[in-house]
Amino acid sequence: MTTTQRAAARPARAGRTARAGRTGRTGRPRTRRPGQVYWLYLIPGAVLFTGVIVVPFVMNLYYSMTKWPGIGDPRWTGFDNYARLLSDETFWTSFRNSVAMIVAMVVVPTLIGLLLAAVLFDYLGKRFSGRVASVLRATYYLPQILPVAVAGILWGWILNPQTGALNVILRGVGLEDLALNWLGDTSTALPTVMMVMIWVQIGYPVVIFMAALQRVDPELYEAAELDGAGWFRRFRAITLPQIRPETFVVTLTCTIAALKVFGPIYVLTKGGPENTTNVPSYFAYQNFFPKSQVGYGAAIATVLTLIVIVVSIVFMRVQAASERKEGLS
């Protein structure tokens, strides 16, 4: 909702009220007086929002300043939990793993998604048929629609060191040495989880980017082609700048999702082995429930919230700045 929209709305509203007031046939006051009746419709939403978001959020802030095992009365400790976080190695590991999750859920899927979308839309769609492209797109998108717990349990079985499909296949073709304990070894667990996340994520940028490519004016490409620009030049000079809004949306939403990732970690590794795959949200969960260190868990959750908000603001600033630059040039 931009200021221009708001400004445009104002005269319309004034005109509407004036007319409605003047032409009241029966002379009774109009119920439709903007700003007077409409807020009533916010009441159910506001009550629910307060009870489920605002109050719990404030309570969580309070918990983060206390020591509390979940029963009895919380004991006020000020910023002790936050101080403790700074020297907690698991906390730092979990945020380092967040960076790994961003690589696996944002960087790699966006790059591969861009390439796949361009190839499907621009190359295969034209050289074979649109149908070939949409069937391929559907197969890439499939992992996106299944519940994350289902994906997790399926992969958990495939990657099981003894009976899992992957190692059985590897042993079957004589690659005994490659049959590792994928999720159980400290050196392979994180890369393996990252591979699973790439598999889960890839379809999303492909679908968004293919939709984005459809709204790019084909005349741009035609003109560039007549000027003798090759496929890659056209991709860089036309496609990338044209679909920048979608690229922005994909990277922002996926970065937030990567920072918040919980389900796959819970189902695949439970943060192990030795915390090598722990992430902030799972670390908070561990403290809330199995360990009953509610205050500490609340502090982790608060830090995570702050990071999510800061990242979103930075993203939007960068986006606004790049749009301004575009407008000037």
Binding site: R25, G35, F49, V52, L136, T163, V168, G263, A301, T305
Partner: protein, 300 residues
């Protein structure tokens, strides 16, 4: 997964791809295109591999699995895995729980979104910029920052381990997104229509249900479908709030079997298969509604 709806944001008009003026004949020659196709198909096979392995092993006996491995076709239809899973997790019960929770959330969250968006987008109440920003922020909030207070409050109010608790929580979380989206869609609602209705003496309640609701039905349908799928796939909050066999949803029940010694290959694979089927079927049924809703939102 949460990010899908960006496609239904009121977008710019789309243009159908047109063939290049040089004609398709020139494009349909050469060996390179077959190489590119082969590469794209190879990626597709990689993406499909886990599903193929799941299908191959869902109905294969454990003995055959250890003898023939995961890549062979099953020689006979072994259904013990499916039966085992079906009974151990009480699949029909979990399916009913998932349907009740997701269905209730989809409807309630859409109604709440419509009310909020009506006040914000059409009523243009004061401070709506701030309210929409607040909803947007709530949508980005990690659920971890709410979970313990919600758990505590649910225990205090006796809602812990009830489906109602999860329904209320997700109604709010989903409607935070719905309000944001719908408010911007409704803010472009043609004022002439609203004026005409007001001149005819319609109350704001009548305008909502007789004018705004019918016109925005395609967008609302898309919201219902997305809310249903998202709630269906939700994991964290149901995991914490629903501890009982009689209240759990399919994803939570399935995850609780992870690492269980009694889970052999056919049980896991058949279980995964029947657990992902509802989501896939739902998606296939409503794919057309979704596309229609998206274009309706784009053209307006």
């Amino acid at each position: 997964m949460t990010a899908v709806p960006t496609v239904l944001r009121p977008g710019r008009p789309r243009r159908a791809p047109e063939p290049l003026p040089t004609g398709p004949d020139r494009l349909r020659r050469g060996a390179l295109r077959w190489l590119v196709l082969a590469a794209a198909v190879a990626v597709a096979l990689l993406m499909m591999a886990p599903f193929v392995i799941m299908l191959l092993n869902a109905f294969k006996s454990p003995a055959e699995y250890s003898a023939e491995g995961p890549l062979s076709l099953p020689s006979s239809l072994y259904t013990d895995g499916l039966v085992n899973f079906w009974q151990r997790v009480d699949y029909p019960g979990k399916l009913a729980n998932s349907v009740v929770i997701s269905g209730a959330v989809a409807i309630l969250a859409t109604v709440v979104s419509l009310f909020n968006a009506y006040a914000l987008g059409i009523g243009r109440v004061k401070g709506r910029m701030w309210i929409v920003t607040l909803f947007l922020l709530a949508n980005m909030l990690p659920q971890e920052a709410l979970i313990y207070p919600l758990y505590y409050l649910a225990k205090e109010t006796g809602l812990y381990n009830t489906q109602l608790s999860v329904i209320i929580i997700f109604t709010v979380i989903q409607s935070a997104f719905g309000t944001y989206l719908l408010a911007s869609v409704l803010s472009t609602f043609p004022p002439a229509v609203l004026e005409a209705a007001a001149l005819d003496g319609a109350s704001s309640w009548q305008i909502l249900w007789k004018v705004v609701f019918p016109v925005s039905r395609p967008t609302l349908a898309v919201l219902v479908i997305f809310f249903f799928i998202w709630t269906w796939n939700e994991f964290f909050i149901p995991l914490v709030m629903l501890i009982d066999n009689s209240t759990q949803t399919i994803p939570v029940a399935l995850a609780s079997l992870q690492g269980d010694r009694l889970m052999d290959a056919p049980t896991i694979n058949a279980g995964s298969l029947v657990s992902l089927l509802p989501a896939v079927i739902f998606f296939l049924i409503f794919q057309r509604t979704l596309t229609r809703g998206i274009t309706a939102g784009a053209v307006k």
